[in-house]
């Protein structure tokens, strides 16, 4: 399996799992007021400032079959997670949490409370309010969040190397493959891979920016 396939599979899984999580957490943080909110927000943002290798190190500890948590994980998945694709997905989720929560929290936070209240007064239940009123106004946040998670997962290196190792066809992603090729002085392959990532990332960002401008015009 090509590193591209591994990378895209990882990015897709991460995005699909993180979008609903980010939506729930972002909504909760935007609307709820509670003690210790700053703690929760800091914890979620932590992967943004922590070196990926540090996160990778702690994940290795958690996954280690010698540890209590690793034992649980092994029982749950039927195998140790270190150097496996599921392990890589979990690591990727942890690293990308801030990219999932932050845009959603911003999108929900910009919804006026009065508008949601008007929906309730009009007889719309919480779930109907979410579907008819909230969702159509936060899709910018969803799109932004998805793009960030997807592109960031494609580019992730440190955590992937530590937790996934570098197993051909299973955990070798594009960014690792580039590193490998450079190590082996195969600059041409590294160049192709790099150019592909560059084009894809640029295109993804363009899609987000253009849809933001379009929605500004129509709203």
């Amino acid at each position: 399996m090509s590193p591209f396939f591994v990378s895209f599979k990882l990015a897709l899984w991460t995005t699909l799992i993180l979008l609903p999580v980010g939506m729930l957490l972002g909504r909760w943080l935007a609307f709820a007021q509670f003690k210790g909110k700053a703690w929760v927000e800091s914890l979620i943002l932590l992967p943004l400032v922590l070196p990926p290798t540090v996160i990778g190190y702690y994940l290795l500890l958690v996954f280690s079959p010698d540890s209590f948590s690793g034992n649980l994980v092994t029982q749950w998945f039927g195998q140790p997670l270190v150097f496996t694709f599921p392990g890589l997905v979990i690591a990727s989720i942890v690293v990308n949490l801030p990219f999932a929560v932050q845009p959603m929290q911003l999108a929900y936070g910009s919804l006026p409370q009065e508008v949601r209240e008007a929906a309730w007064v009009s007889g719309l239940s919480s779930s109907k309010t979410w579907w008819h009123i909230e969702l159509p106004q936060i899709w910018q946040g969803i799109l932004g969040s998805a793009t960030l998670i997807f592109s960031h997962t494609l580019g992730e290196f440190g955590v992937v190397l530590l937790v996934g190792g570098n197993i051909e066809g299973r955990t070798r992603t594009v960014s690792i493959a580039i590193y490998d090729h450079v190590q082996a002085f195969d600059m041409l392959s590294a160049g192709w891979y790099s150019a592909a990532l560059l084009v894809f990332s640029l295109a993804a960002l363009m899609v987000v920016r253009m849809s933001a401008q379009k929605s500004k015009r129509t709203h």
């Binding site: 009065e114 508008v115 209240e117 309730w120 007064v121 009009s122 709203h219």
Partner: protein, 381 residues
């Protein structure tokens, strides 16, 4: 513009058809609340108070957007809240129509979809029909497919009102609905609302801090201050006969004088001001010797020309002009009264006086109509 007040007295209607709104709220934690008010079907009750007095809190609690420690809210035969019997109806089930301060339209929906979304239990076709007819009644025909951000403030307000009424609400709640539009639009909207409400047989509560708005739109008013309802009654009664000095001040009355009841006449009562000066005012049932605060309506004050006949139901007071400001077609004049070393403030149409006669320091006599003097018992203040 003058609307005939249609005050449905709660006691006059038979209980089975009573669709009035009854509210009693109490809160000790957080901002304290001690509220009691009633609003009949077809009645527009203005909830008036300075900002931070708790009037919006009361409205939101009635709507079901906020909870209080202790309370009782009944609308018609339905109990919306009764903390004693642990009864609570959710905001969705209460079916109130509410207009928010900043309209709170759904920004991604067209005008007609904003209204349609509030209509329940009807087919899509019926909903569309009802929404269109309410938009027609609020003068919004032709703008149905616009988005809220393509509307002016006044138009947004009309859509918000149509949305609130289209749900066939049990009560209409208006939270400072005119605060965000300009003066000219406001006057137009007052007229439209006054016209629209004549066909509504539900309790209507208007939250505002604008006494002028109350006089133009409401039948009755309830004054709220620091979370406490102070006085409820018809707009005229509360405005002209406030129960306490605090209420008089909240209503913006400026000419307040301390006095005592001196003598009861046939139709008028004589009040003793500070230094021997007395004033004739409207009759009161208060005992002679009782301390009162006299409230002098600015409309009862005129400048006394020597030529004008001194009529029996008025008082002549000596003083000097403290200041006089020309404001549009009126003069706002402050007169310092010799007898009580206090000032009297009133307005006179521009054409009635010569500006040379109101220079500061000029001696001046004013006439105060006895009917415009009202006594507030000091003990109630």
């Amino acid at each position: 513009m003058h609307t005939t007040p249609i005050i449905a007295s709660a006691s006059a209607t038979t209980p089975s058809f009573d669709s009035s709104l009854e509210v009693r709220l109490q809160a000790q934690r957080g901002p304290s609340l001690d509220v009691s008010l009633e609003c009949g079907a077809g009645e527009m009750l203005a909830l008036v108070g300075p900002s931070g007095s708790g009037k919006s809190t009361v409205l939101r609690t009635i709507a079901g957007l906020r909870k209080v420690d202790q309370g009782f809210v009944r609308c018609g035969n339905t109990l919306w809240m009764d903390t004693e019997n642990k009864k609570y109806v959710t905001v969705q089930q209460r079916q109130v129509g509410m207009v928010f301060q900043h309209y709170a339209l759904f920004p991604h929906k067209s005008v007609i979809d904003n209204v349609i979304l509030a209509i329940r239990n009807k087919s899509r076709k019926e909903k569309k029909h009802i929404a269109a007819s309410w938009l027609e009644r609020t003068n919004m025909t032709g703008l149905e497919s616009r988005r809220p951000d393509q509307l002016s403030g006044g138009q947004k307000q009309r859509v918000a009102l149509a949305r609130a009424l289209a749900s066939n609400p049990a009560a209409l709640l208006l939270d400072e609905p005119f605060s965000a539009v300009d003066q000219q639009t406001r006057r137009k909207l007052y007229r439209e609302l006054a016209k629209l409400r004549t066909g509504l047989d539900i309790p209507m509560i208007l939250v505002t801090h604008d006494v002028g708005e109350v006089q133009q739109l409401a039948d009755s008013m309830c004054l709220i201050y620091k979370g406490q309802t102070l006085q409820q009654g018809s707009v005229h009664d509360v405005m002209t006969a406030p129960e306490s000095k605090t209420i008089a001040k909240l209503l913006g009355h400026q000419n307040l004088f301390s006095a005592t009841v001196a003598h009861h006449g046939d139709h008028l009562t004589r009040y003793q001001l500070g230094d021997g000066e007395t004033l004739q005012g409207s009759a009161t049932k208060l005992n002679v010797g009782q301390a009162v605060t006299l409230l002098i309506a600015p409309s009862a004050i005129t400048i006394d020309n020597d030529s004008s006949a001194h009529d029996i139901g008025s008082n002549r007071l000596k003083g000097s002009v403290r200041d006089a400001v020309s404001m549009g077609d009126e003069w706002s004049i402050t007169v310092h009264l010799d007898a009580v070393t206090k000032s009297l403030r009133f307005r006179i149409p521009q054409y009635q006086i010569d500006s040379r006669h109101v220079l500061p320091g000029t001696p001046i006599n004013v006439n105060v109509r006895a009917g415009g003097i009202y006594a507030i018992s000091e003990s109630m203040s």
